[in-house]
């Protein structure tokens, strides 16, 4: 006996919109929670608790705005868009709360700490050290730069899809990625191969 074909995201969305079906939405959340939370963990540079709070807010907003989803992008891409907006809103709020200088100090501290960690890394800890260094380097980026890097690399989106998620032109996305990579190369110079001759 053939197994029934799996229910697509579009079918689940239709059930939510037409019948206010919360079981269908539960299935959607189950399917996408891991990728959305992972995306937000990257955006928050490893702050898991904050990432989960923002992920929850993302899905609540998705539920409220499901009728407005016109399927012009994949559902996951649409969720990334909401998640990125949630994170940007939170970052703006936090910026207003914090003194600007303090944030720069934190960034400087992180930058100073990086070479030390990299130098003392053992072979076994190399992978986790690299992850920490990447997170620290990410913290040095501006919000749009960080968002562009996360969408293009972590979420593996094309520049066009990233532009949709970030709500900006494709050219702006490319500029953000380029600038972000320059900053990250400078911050992660210790990881550059010897032969590179890279200025970083």
């Amino acid at each position: 006996m053939a197994t029934p074909p799996p229910v697509t995201d579009a079918q689940l969305i239709a059930r939510c919109v037409v019948g206010d079906d919360r079981h269908a939405f539960t299935e959607l959340v189950k399917r996408h929670q891991s990728t959305v939370r992972a995306c937000l963990r990257k955006l928050t540079a490893g702050d898991h608790a904050l990432a989960d709070d923002l992920a929850q807010e993302t899905f609540v907003q998705a539920w409220r705005n499901l009728k407005a989803f016109r399927q012009e992008a994949r559902f996951s891409t649409w969720l990334y868009r909401i998640a990125t907006n949630c994170w940007l809103m939170h970052a703006r709020k936090r910026k207003e709360e914090l003194l600007g200088d303090r944030e720069a100090e934190i960034a400087d501290e992180d930058a100073d700490a990086m070479p030390h960690l990299s130098e003392t890394a053992s072979d076994h800890a190399r992978s986790s050290t690299l992850k920490l260094d990447l997170e620290r380097a990410m913290r040095l980026l501006s919000e749009p730069e960080r968002a562009a890097i996360v969408q293009c690399y972590h979420n593996d989106l094309s520049h066009e899809e990233a532009a949709y998620v970030l709500g900006c032109p494709v050219g702006t996305v490319k500029t953000h990625v380029l600038r972000a990579k320059q900053k990250m190369k400078a911050a992660m110079a210790a990881w550059a191969p010897e032969a590179s001759g890279d200025p970083a």
């Binding site: 539960t26 959340v29 929850q56 992660m188 590179s196």
Partner: protein, 121 residues
């Protein structure tokens, strides 16, 4: 610098690309466990707007009243319409072949639309 060599050989000019891509692949491979997250989301959703129980019968009653009102205020209107439709068809008799052609076109249109919709989904 063997200590920092990654598993994938990297061109010197895009070492950061490789680091980012490897990191993304590593993250993609590791599934984040639900751990009550879905339940928290579902409890955070706004409550469903429950329609009052009397709403459906009330709407049906209103439609019934409207129908009766129309029937009372426009006596003979339905008969007039039916008579005119009959006259229209009687004045221009339709051949069986014409009916078949129209049905064929309608069927073709319906099936084409259905196939296009099915292929899109």
């Amino acid at each position: 610098m063997s200590e920092r060599t990654l598993s994938v050989p990297q061109p010197a000019d895009d070492w950061l690309d490789r680091l980012l891509v490897d990191d993304a692949h590593e993250d993609a491979a590791s599934y984040i466990d639900d751990a009550g997250f879905v339940a928290r989301v579902m409890t955070a959703l706004p409550p469903a707007v429950a329609l009052p129980a009397w709403r459906k019968p009330a709407v049906a009653a209103l439609w019934a009243v409207a129908g009766v009102g129309l029937a009372v205020t426009l006596p003979g209107a339905a008969v007039d319409v039916a008579r005119e439709v009959f006259r229209l068809f009687a004045a221009k008799p339709v051949a069986l072949s014409e009916i078949a052609a129209v049905l064929g076109v309608l069927g073709l249109g319906t099936w084409t639309t259905a196939i296009v919709a099915w292929r899109r989904t």
